[in-house]
Symmetry: C2
Subunit: 285 residues, 2 copies
C-alpha cells in the first residue's frame, strides 16, 4: 500500500493501474476509520482491482460553530486499518493541496437540502458536493462508495453525479452497527458511558416506526408522532426527526414507495445521526 | 462526420476514438457557427486526432429577459461548416437530454462575476459554468477550446477547471475579427446597416486604450476616462466598459501585469462585446 499526498501522485497511481487494465474503486473518507469505512473498502475491494482511499477532513463542510478542530484524527491507525482492509493507495492531501486558494466557485445544492442535516447545517452539503466533485475529478474512479448512514449525503451525491454527468458509478453501502444496534461513527468516542448505553434507542425507535409503516400505516404525521414520542424518552435532545420520500427527500403526508425515517440527536459531546429506509411496496431495504 | 444527439452516443464515439489511441479536442458552442468558431475547430484539429463539436443553446445561461428564444439557430448550415472545418462528431443534444429534470444543484461562481458581463447578467456565469462542467464530464476531452472574445467566460472556465481539478486542458484562442476589426459574433446579424458600419469603433477604442497603457499610462482611471470618451461618440449605449487585471478580473487603480480592456455596447437589436488584453511587461498579447 502506498500513501500519496499530492494530486499529481494519486493521478499517476490511478493512470498506471488503469493502463494495467485495472478498474478503480474509490472510498472517500474524513479518516478515523471504523468498521463502517472498512465495509466500504471491502465492497470496493470485492468489485475492483485497485482501491483508492482518501482521507481528508474537508473544512468546507464544517460550519463556523462545528467541530472541525475537534474532529478526531489518527493517521497511523487509519493506515493500519486501510492496509489490512486491502487498500492499494491512500490519498492523504493537505488542506493546501486541495484548496491552494480560496475557491472562486462551489457547487450550490438547491434540492433536498432544507430537510434533515441540511436544515441545521447551512452550507454543509455545498461543501460536501464541492469536495466530492473535486475528489472524483482527481481520482477518476469507476465506482465510488458511500455509506447509507449518511443517507442525505448519499442522495445528494447520487443527484450530483446525475446532474453533472460525472462518469462514475455511486455505490451506497448499508449502515454498519455495533452489536446493540448503534450506528458506527467516528463521533461515538465522544459519548459518556451513560450516553453510550442509551444511544441504541435511536435505532430501536426508527425500527419501530419502520415496522409501523410496514404494517400498513402510511400517514407521515402518525409515524412522526410515534418517533417523537419514543425519542422524547431519551436524556439528550432531538435535533431533527423526519419521515420523507427517498431519495427525493420530499415531505408528503401520504407515504409511498421508498421512505426514509431519519434522526439527529444531541448528546452532551456528540451529535449522532441514524436512519432507516423502507420500501412500502417491497418491504425493508 | 457523425451527428449524435444523446450523451450515450457521444460517449461511445469518444471511447472508441480513445481506444484507437486518439486524443480528443472539444469545441463547445451554441451553434450558428462563424469564423470565430471555425478558428477554434481548426486549433482543435491541429492539436488532436479527433474533434468533437457540441451545439447546444443552454437555457441556464440566459436571463428571463434575454434572447434565448431569439438566439439564431441553423443546424444544417452549422453541419456543413463543421464538416468542412474537420469535425469528427457533432454532439447536438436536446434541452431534455441535457436537463431531463430541474437541476437539483448548480455551480455558483463567486469570484470574477461582479464585473463586466457578470454584473449585468446575474446568474449568467453560473449557467455557463454548470453546462460546461456537464459537457466536460460527458465528452471527457483532452483539451477544450474557447474564444478569448468571451474573456470573462474563458477566465471563469479556467478557474473552474482548476478549482474542481477537472482533468482537461483549457485552450484560449484569439478573437477572430471582420476585416474592419469588428469581432465576429452570432449576434452581428441583428445589426442595422448603420450600426454595422459604426460598430468597429469599439475595437478602435480598445486598441487606443491599450496603446495608452503600452506607452506608459498605468492609471486605470485615466484609461477608463479615455475609453468612455471614445465610446461616448457612438450612437448606441454603453452597457459597461472596464479596465481590469486578467485573469483575476480585479479592479486596481495601479495597472500591472496582464490587463483586460473590455466593453459591452447596446445597439437597438444586439448587444456586442469585445476586449483587448495587454501585458504591461511584455507588450500586446
Amino acid at each position: 500500500m502506498k500513501v500519496v499526498e499530492t494530486i499529481k501522485a494519486v493521478r499517476n497511481e490511478v493512470i498506471a493501474a488503469k493502463q494495467t487494465g485495472f478498474s478503480i474503486g474509490f472510498v472517500p473518507t474524513m479518516g478515523y476509520l471504523h468498521e463502517g469505512h472498512v465495509s466500504l473498502i471491502e465492497a470496493a475491494r470485492k468489485d475492483h482491482d485497485f482501491v483508492v482511499l482518501s482521507i481528508f477532513v474537508n473544512p468546507l463542510q464544517f460550519g463556523p460553530n462545528e467541530d472541525l478542530d475537534r474532529y478526531p484524527r489518527d493517521f497511523q491507525r487509519d493506515e493500519k486499518i486501510a492496509q489490512k482492509a486491502g487498500v492499494d493507495v491512500i490519498f492523504y492531501p493537505s488542506v493546501h493541496e486541495m484548496y491552494p486558494t480560496n475557491m472562486p466557485m462551489s457547487i450550490h445544492v438547491t434540492s433536498g437540502v432544507d430537510v434533515l442535516c441540511g436544515s441545521s447545517r447551512p452550507g454543509h452539503f455545498d461543501g460536501v458536493a464541492t469536495v466530492v466533485m473535486k475528489l472524483l475529478q482527481i481520482v477518476q474512479p469507476n465506482e465510488a462508495y458511500f455509506g447509507q448512514k449518511d443517507a442525505q449525503q448519499l442522495a445528494i451525491i447520487m443527484n450530483m453525479v446525475e446532474a453533472f454527468n460525472v462518469p462514475v458509478n455511486i455505490h451506497g453501502c448499508p449502515t454498519v452497527r455495533e452489536e446493540d444496534g448503534l450506528a458506527k461513527s467516528s463521533r461515538n468516542v465522544y459519548l459518556t458511558n451513560e450516553d453510550r448505553a442509551e444511544a441504541p434507542f435511536l435505532y430501536e425507535a426508527l425500527k419501530e416506526g419502520a415496522n409501523l409503516i410496514l404494517s400498513g400505516e402510511t400517514r407521515r404525521s402518525v409515524i412522526l408522532a410515534e418517533l417523537e414520542n419514543r425519542l422524547g424518552t431519551g436524556s439528550g435532545r432531538i435535533d431533527y426527526v423526519d419521515v420523507l420520500r427517498y431519495p427525493s427527500l420530499e415531505q408528503s403526508e401520504q407515504l409511498s414507495g421508498k421512505v426514509i425515517l431519519a434522526v439527529a440527536y444531541f448528546y452532551k459531546n456528540a451529535r449522532l445521526i441514524d436512519n432507516y429506509i423502507v420500501d412500502i411496496q417491497e418491504g425493508e431495504k
